[in-house]
């Protein structure tokens, strides 16, 4: 029996074990390798994607549970890689090895969607579920702040344009 998924706005139909975690579905069956495997037990956040806009760990999420949900991965966060969080990550040169960063970015972008102007504490708390073994935490926290600033600037300039 095939399962229908909506991934990065595209509908796909897959004929695989419905217990397959979303992470391995993305990586092995859809060639979407941006979502990373770090622990497989919902501890590190490397596999973070959005399910209906909520940051969710895909390593423990069977696809049967998300059949009708709207899924966004790092590849679908923005068309040109210019989401304010991606821009901030590049500007502040956050990555070291880079492996954890897709998960960090998906967590950060979801945090900012809920709280466009997070306080310093909200940033620290909101990002602490994601491990970075290279220890880029300071820059991650600074980049969330920068992304928030960039997003509000972008908004005010688009409002002006449309006015």
């Amino acid at each position: 029996m095939s399962i229908q998924l909506t991934i990065n706005k595209k509908k796909v139909s897959l004929d695989i074990d419905p217990n397959t975690p979303l992470l391995w579905t993305l990586r092995d069956h859809m060639s979407l390798k941006g979502t990373k495997f770090g622990c497989g037990i919902a501890q590190c956040g490397a596999c973070t994607v959005w399910v209906n806009g909520e940051a969710t760990r895909s390593c423990v999420l069977p696809i049967s549970a998300v059949a009708n949900a709207d899924i966004t991965t790092i590849e679908g966060l923005s068309e040109k890689g210019d989401h304010p969080v991606q821009v901030a990550w590049d500007q502040l040169d956050v990555p070291q090895c880079g492996y954890c960063q897709a998960g960090q970015i998906m967590t950060a972008a979801s945090l900012l969607k809920k709280k466009p102007k997070p306080t310093a504490t909200e940033i620290v708390d909101g990002m602490s579920g994601n491990i970075c073994r290279c220890g880029t935490y300071h820059r991650i926290q600074e980049a969330v702040k920068l992304a928030s600033d960039l997003a509000s600037k972008k908004k005010s300039s688009t409002t002006k344009k449309s006015a």
Binding site: R27, D93, Q141
Partner: protein, 698 residues
């Protein structure tokens, strides 16, 4: 001209007019003329940099990127001396090429140090050849020409871009010794340059080893035996019937489950059971016993002896003595081990994946499978961290062996549990220190014995404060264990630095001295009248200490308790002051000031990232990490109980660098060794509790 491949290439190249500068590492050692330039395509020889007639600058990075930023730092050095704008540069990863690159290895913080002179030479040589080409065209003296942003400027206002000069420049004589820039004219070195891989990383491009996907590839996981055990039998009848499973096969005490997809392999793996044989498998109690025996034995290896320690300690007015211990820990890079191998019937092999030492992977696979090294191709992927783990190619060899057995291209992936329990750890070590002080609190005798489990020499016998103390005895004992160990970021010093710097804090306290002044006094002694051989430069030590004292406002911050440490490793010097306060009756590290002397800072952004990352790494592992063994099996196995430091547990960090223009030294590692010490000493200052073992019990 005969229509050989060579002439074809030359013609093609001349048509497009590319300038390629190559570098022969082997002939380069101190000899002139080792650099070669040509107008043929870069792929044909040892290309270093390539400039097309369109002005595109391609710099090749021979070393694979593991997170310490050399893929960016290397080209920065070339671009600086070449005098081009960084925005016009494209960096490409060179694959393993033993003909052309000598040191394709990431480790020992040595990548940049080793290559500094050569990289500068490559850039400066090319620049000079562009000047010569322009001077010849304009019929002016080369010495009257300058360069800026990839353009040669003539004395009469002439201008020619490198691109327009490319094919002519390629015919110029390669200068034996080019002229270098003055460091005050640096435009890129010392500034902030963003990582060249950032765009790929933030958009989730498949650049890591685990992302490798090749036609016909199957996926495998491997069950590895407890340390010291042998595989007696395994049961896989059910697993073999499961969907997508291709094979379950054993080799070298391991059992590999091979299938079409990761999830199918994981499911089948759960249905495989293994039986092992093993006697006297190691447990925590075994390791404790070995430490005790190592401390008691009279067969320790003497690593250093100055003066007469026994006589001096006998007449000391005060003796300070302490034992420190550090457990086995895992490297746990964020990307677990994995490797792709395709061993083909014709004896050719494709290896692909994350390794710090591609050349030794090639050699080891050739000898394991008795194949011709030249037929083994190695593709380098980006690495999701390494911390020393990827200096060992066990996982690449395993993949190659499995591919040769199943006769298929295969990617072996380790789960986190495999990665944490599958071996190659930082060795566990116990240290015993003894110091004898005279009546005025000066250390006159210093003793250290390091007992390591598969640690080799667990001491660094020539390191400071040795050289400043009259009577020294340093010994090591290595206990052989079946638990596999290897280099872990800042090998040995990552725990020795902690133990020693914490012990010296005890010595200062017992002698009634300020920990900073005590070290400065010793360094003055080591400088004016060293005891025996020293490997460090006292002046550079003194400078980082003084700056750290000043920048941290040592002992001048009201309500804050501070701990000091300083360490020399990988030829760099790092002094640290950690600040601690008591929160709800528990000490908390709030801030760390670090002053680093790593010579010239090539990329400030990367350097800051390395120092802060190393401090967070050092602090996290000192506070939380430990592996225990039970009958040869390591535990814990995943991040739920093997705790890594998180973003809400870090102090603020100020990273300062000494500006001295000395050739760059190590940076990926040296900020780590002093961290355990500064943190332990700050915690002591705040809580009066000494921390004698990692992970810290606070």
């Amino acid at each position: 001209m005969k229509n050989t491949r060579r002439s074809f290439l030359q013609k093609t190249a001349l048509a497009t007019g590319a300038f390629c500068l190559g570098f022969d590492w082997f002939k380069a050692e101190g000899k002139a003329g080792a650099m070669v330039a040509s107008a043929v395509d870069a792929g044909r020889f040892n290309a270093y940099l390539e400039i097309s007639s369109l002005g595109k600058v391609i710099l090749y990075s021979p070393n694979p990127e593991i997170g310490q930023g050399i893929k960016t730092a290397f080209p920065v050095v070339v671009a600086e001396e070449l005098d081009v704008d960084w925005k016009d540069v494209e960096v490409r990863q060179a694959n393993l090429d033993t003909q052309h690159f000598e040191r394709q290895l990431t480790g020992g913080s040595g990548a940049l140090k080793h290559s500094w002179d050569r990289l500068r030479k490559a850039g400066a040589t090319a620049r000079q050849m562009f000047i010569q080409a322009a001077a010849q065209t304009w019929k002016v003296d080369a010495s009257t020409c300058k360069t800026a942003g990839g353009v040669v400027l003539g004395p009469g206002g002439q201008k020619a871009s490198y691109g327009s000069l490319a094919s002519l420049a390629a015919t110029m004589t390669v200068p034996a010794e080019p002229t270098y820039k003055n460091r005050k004219d640096y435009k890129i070195i010392g500034k902030r340059t963003k990582g060249v891989d950032n765009a790929n990383v933030v958009t989730g491009k498949p650049v890591f080893g685990l992302d490798i996907d090749k036609p016909g590839m199957v996926i495998a996981q491997i069950i590895r035996p407890p340390f010291g055990a042998t595989l007696k039998s395994f049961e896989a009848t059910d697993a073999l019937k499961m969907p997508g499973i291709v094979d379950v096969i054993s080799f070298k005490n391991k059992v590999a489950i091979v299938g079409q997809s990761t999830w199918q392999v994981m499911q089948a793996r759960a249905a495989v059971s293994c039986k092992y044989d093993g006697q006297n498998l190691e447990s925590e109690s075994t390791h404790k016993k070995w430490f005790d025996e190592g401390m008691a034995t009279d067969k320790a290896q003497v690593q250093r002896k100055d003066g007469d320690f026994q006589a001096a300690i006998a007449k000391a007015a005060k003796v300070v003595e302490a034992t420190y211990e550090c457990p086995f820990i895992s490297h746990s890079p964020m990307e677990p081990m994995n490797f792709f191998a395709d061993v083909r019937a014709d004896g050719s092999v494709l290896l692909a994946g994350p390794t710090q030492v591609p050349q030794s992977a090639q050699k080891a696979v050739a000898s394991l499978l008795k194949l011709d090294e030249k037929k083994i191709e190695v593709e380098l992927s980006k690495m999701g961290g390494g911390f020393g783990r990827r200096l060992n190619n066990d996982y690449a060899l395993e993949a190659a062996e499995l591919s040769s057995l199943i006769k298929k291209p295969v990617k072996v992936m380790w789960t986190r549990e495999d990665d944490m329990t599958g071996g190659i750890y930082r060795p566990a070590v116990r240290y015993h220190f003894k110091a004898g002080l005279d009546a005025s609190g000066n250390m006159i005798a210093f003793y250290l014995r390091g007992v390591g489990l598969n640690a080799g020499n667990a001491t660094r016998q020539d390191n400071f404060p040795v050289g400043a103390i009259d009577n020294v005895l340093i010994e090591s004992v290595n206990q052989v264990s079946s638990v596999t160990t290897g280099p872990w970021r800042a090998p040995i010093t990552n725990f020795l630095g902690y133990a020693e710097q914490a012990f010296l804090d005890e010595v200062a306290e017992a002698g009634g001295k300020d920990p900073i002044q005590m070290r400065l006094d010793w360094l003055a002694r080591a400088k004016s009248n060293p005891v025996g051989k020293i490997t460090y430069e006292p002046d550079r030590f003194i400078e980082v200490i003084k700056q750290a004292a000043e920048k941290s406002q040592w002992k001048k911050k009201p309500g804050v308790s501070q701990g000091f440490s300083v360490y020399f490793s990988h030829l760099s010097y790092v002094a640290q002051v950690a600040d601690a306060v008591m929160v709800n009756g528990k000490p908390k590290i709030t801030h760390v000031t670090a002053v680093t002397d790593c010579g010239e800072v090539v990329n400030l952004s990367g350097a800051e990232n390395q120092v802060k990352g190393a401090i967070i790494d050092g602090m996290g592992h000192a506070m939380f990490a430990k592996l225990r063994f039970n009958e040869g099996v390591a535990a814990p196995a995943n991040f739920n109980s093997y705790r890594l430091i998180r973003g809400n547990e870090i102090p603020t960090i100020d990273a300062h660098f000494v500006d001295n223009g000395i050739a760059p030294t190590g940076l990926g590692e040296p900020a780590l060794p002093p961290t355990g010490g500064s943190v332990a000493n700050a915690i002591y200052a705040a809580s009066k509790k000494r921390l004698y073992r990692q992970p810290f019990d606070i």
